[in-house]
Amino acid sequence: MAQRLLLVSTIMAFLAGLAIASFAGFREFLPGLLQGALITVEITVAGAVLALVCAVIAALAKLYGPAPVRWLAITYIELFRGTSALVQLFWMFFVLPHFGVRLEPLLVAILALGLNIGAYGAEVVRGAIIAVPRGQWEATIALNMSRAAALRRVILPQAFVAMIPPWGNLLIELLKSTSLVSLITIADLTFRAQQMNQTTFRTVEIFIIVLLLYLAISMIITVGMRALEAKAAGAVARGRAH
């Protein structure tokens, strides 16, 4: 795993070097594109936090909530999984103002993408909770722990480990979907690239840089999640009976 990461990083560094060497446009476009990339990262990070919170709440509500709460969670999950992120973005940006709700574009971007990924994440969280062996629940009952304490202290910490790899995928989905926000006037990486392209027509140089920047951000996510997984799995693997 580590060797493969190293290999990919090396190839990327080589490509990046190639880009620097080959394109005079690098110096010209990079600063502007980096500004866009910063917005992209901001939306990704804030969206990820929102998605995680929504996912945990929706999963717990669907699993353990009373009927009305459960239905609310199911509605949220199905609504946001069943419609496209772009439509959700447009709804919040163009339709809500007709009902008197006018939000900042950046807020709309974070809300729409966070809620969207959160709906997928809810199923990931739910699956990981269900996968914790029954015996763990039974032990908490035999020790007279409340259900809330059992979840917080015993079930979720174990479910957490199983959740990390699928969350890595979801975060990369989130990163990729941030390019949609260029359609609601936010100057993210994609938006900047299109703007520069329209004024300079140096398409190849601009989009090679864009590609490398997206790839770099997703590599950071992958490496970060791998590290988190190794750390968390280490803690539980010590505990798992061989």
Binding site: P133, G135, Q136, E138, A139, I141, A142, L143, N144, M145, S146, A149, R153, V154, P157, Q158, A235, V236, A237, R238, G239, R240, A241, H242
Partner: protein, 264 residues
């Protein structure tokens, strides 16, 4: 047959308890009593309902009919306006605190070391200060012979050691009744002795009511005050070990015991 405590009230009483899964009746009108401090071995063929009896008592399974009494009070029910109604969560939690259980597959918390496993419930449930809970956890781990394994995680321990941590973890909640469900069945043969020795020690040093489902007939004979033989969800025969093992009266008991003896 039972050894009632000073008030004459049994510690545990099953009163006409019925348990079924769908249309399959596992236990049909079970009446059974366990006295305070009594040590009872429950034996019988696989599928005869032994585990179900312990799980109902631990409130892991709901009963369909009848009442289970614990320490002079109803467990599955509670009193309201002079009537017995099904217990709510608060009542269950109050009564359940008097029972501890050790499982066949240990069910230790894999992300906590031995001491943390034993501290968890005293801290989160009994609100015991951490220092006190830790001291008690260490004391109990010493008692089960794991004084040198405080910081080991379950995966770093042998099956026998894990099961001894599980016993210490249950004792940390100071139960009056301890349930053991085939606690040596998942162990390699050479590790069974160390777990049985610990159980023997609890029996002599602590004032516990102990109910154990077991296939270790030798241990049951030497340890138990009474042996209950289950067959098809009913108590076929019960009595002191000398009687059950020495001169069983029931045909089914005889068959079962000779089959078990043949296997060993």
């Amino acid at each position: 047959m039972t050894a009632p405590d000073s008030n004459g009230t049994p510690m545990v009483r099953f009163e006409n308890v019925t348990k079924s899964y769908g249309s399959f009746v596992v236990l049909d009108g079970l009446d059974l009593e366990f006295g305070a401090g009594e040590k009872v071995a429950i034996i019988g063929p696989s599928g005869s309902g032994k585990t179900t009896v312990l799980r109902m008592l631990m409130t892991l399974e709901r009963i369909n009919d009848g009442i289970i009494w614990l320490d002079g009070e109803p467990l599955t029910h509670m009193e309201r306006d002079g009537q017995l109604v099904p217990a709510n969560a608060a009542h269950l939690r109050r009564q359940r605190g008097k029972i501890g259980m050790v499982f066949q597959h240990f069910n230790l918390f894999p992300h906590m070391n031995a001491v943390q496993n034993c501290m968890e419930a005293p801290v989160t449930v009994l609100r015991m200060p951490k220092a006190e809970a830790r001291a008690r956890a260490c004391e109990l781990l010493e008692m089960v012979g794991l004084g040198d394994k405080f910081n080991h995680y379950p995966g770093q321990l042998s099956g026998g050691q894990q099961q001894r941590v599980a016993i210490a973890r249950a004792l940390a909640m100071r139960p009056k009744v301890m349930l053991f469900d085939e606690v040596t069945s998942a162990l390699d043969p050479e590790l069974i002795g160390e777990v049985l020795n610990v159980i023997r020690k609890l029996g002599s040093e602590l004032d516990l009511t102990m109910l154990m489902v077991t296939h270790q007939m030798g241990f049951a004979k030497e340890f138990a005050d009474r042996v209950c033989f289950f067959h098809s969800g009913k108590i076929c025969e019960q009595g002191p070990p000398e009687q059950i093992f020495g001169a069983p009266e029931n045909e089914r008991t005889k068959q079962f015991l000779s089959a078990v003896l043949e296997a060993t």
